[in-house]
Amino acid sequence: MHRVLTIQNVVLKLRQALPQIQGARKVLVTAPPQLINHVSLYIVCAPIHTGAGKVLFLSVDRPNQSIARLLDRHCNGGPQVLFGNPEMDSPPTGDVSCVTGLFAPKLMVDALGQLSDGPEARSSMVVGNLSALGFYNSNDRVKEFLHRIDDKLREQVITRVVLVSDKTSGYILSLARDFAEKEVDLSG
């Protein structure tokens, strides 16, 4: 029988999968395309709900305004959200630092890195929707992007990364699978 994937079902599956990914630094979460927004938002909000640290959110093809509205409405208490300006003199103190864009994702990672206020901040990074990068960037650029994230993990600018993707782009999905230590499949 066809099982309908509502956001409630997907979030339940995600919660059930959490014990399997505890401790993993590089996680890939695949979800149905229509629910990517919801899943990304849930993953961004989770550390804030539990006071587990700050979040760097790299959001592909969503403008600042809509991300801000979503976080304000759906994240408990409305977190302090800061949108990326890597030219700032001093690092900000928001709960969520966000960079949104379409092209040159490697630069987006650098911008986010500069927004992080040092290793003591214990920031995690969420990328959503990874598969959408394929509409705007060559395969090489997406590869560089993942290498750049690896660099940031090594430098301890970030402690963990969660890539949220759908399964429409086979190439990007295979890159993401090679990159990730653990995968959570919420798409079926």
């Binding site: 927004n37 060559s138 395969n139 090489d140 429409t168 782009s169 990007i172």
Partner: protein, 235 residues
Amino acid sequence: MTDKGNAGANDFVRIKSGIPGLDQMMEGGFPFPSTILVAGSAGTGKTTFGLQFLMQGARDGEQGLYFTTLSEPTQWMMRFASRLEFINKDFLGKEVKYVELGNYLRDEKDPRKIIDFMEEHITEVMPQRIVIDPITVVEELIGGNYRTFLYELATRLKNWQAVSVLTGEVLPDQPYPVQVSYITDTVILLSYGLSPEGGRRKYLEILKMRGTGHATGRHLFDVSRNGVSVQAGLR
């Protein structure tokens, strides 16, 4: 070795329209996300089309949001809609939410404020499917600000990960609402024609669909208590 390939060469995600016969005319469904204009004169089935689209989403586990620009209480619209066989009342108020915009539009003429008001509901519900029915009434209510409203609406709708269906009245002096067609990815026209015997028939035609190979020409369609259905290939 470098790979300069196009990682996004795969197809768009598509969602079912909910209209029997239509998906096979457009590579399996509407691209997700995208904006659709469904245009037609009175009685051609635009509202029924929109409701069917939302009910299909509800069956597929998606959230739908229906904005009506008419000053029509929910119960009035639902009284008529409840006669349609495809309406599952369990979805109403939950998977399919209804927002009455008409009263707000009568008092507020500032396009940005109107769209902010709509966006508050979209943020709350996070729908995958949105219907604005009918969009063309907004021109009568806000007058000279209509063009700004449309451009602002198009920009904002494209930022939400949803398929938005805008319905539009066709006036006698125009083939379809041209201003709205500029801001949408797809234009579907519902029209009347005469059969060889002189009877009135209804036709559906996909005039434009970005990124999709689609059937061309007019195709017979029917509106009944089962909703809109297209007889693809019958002209």
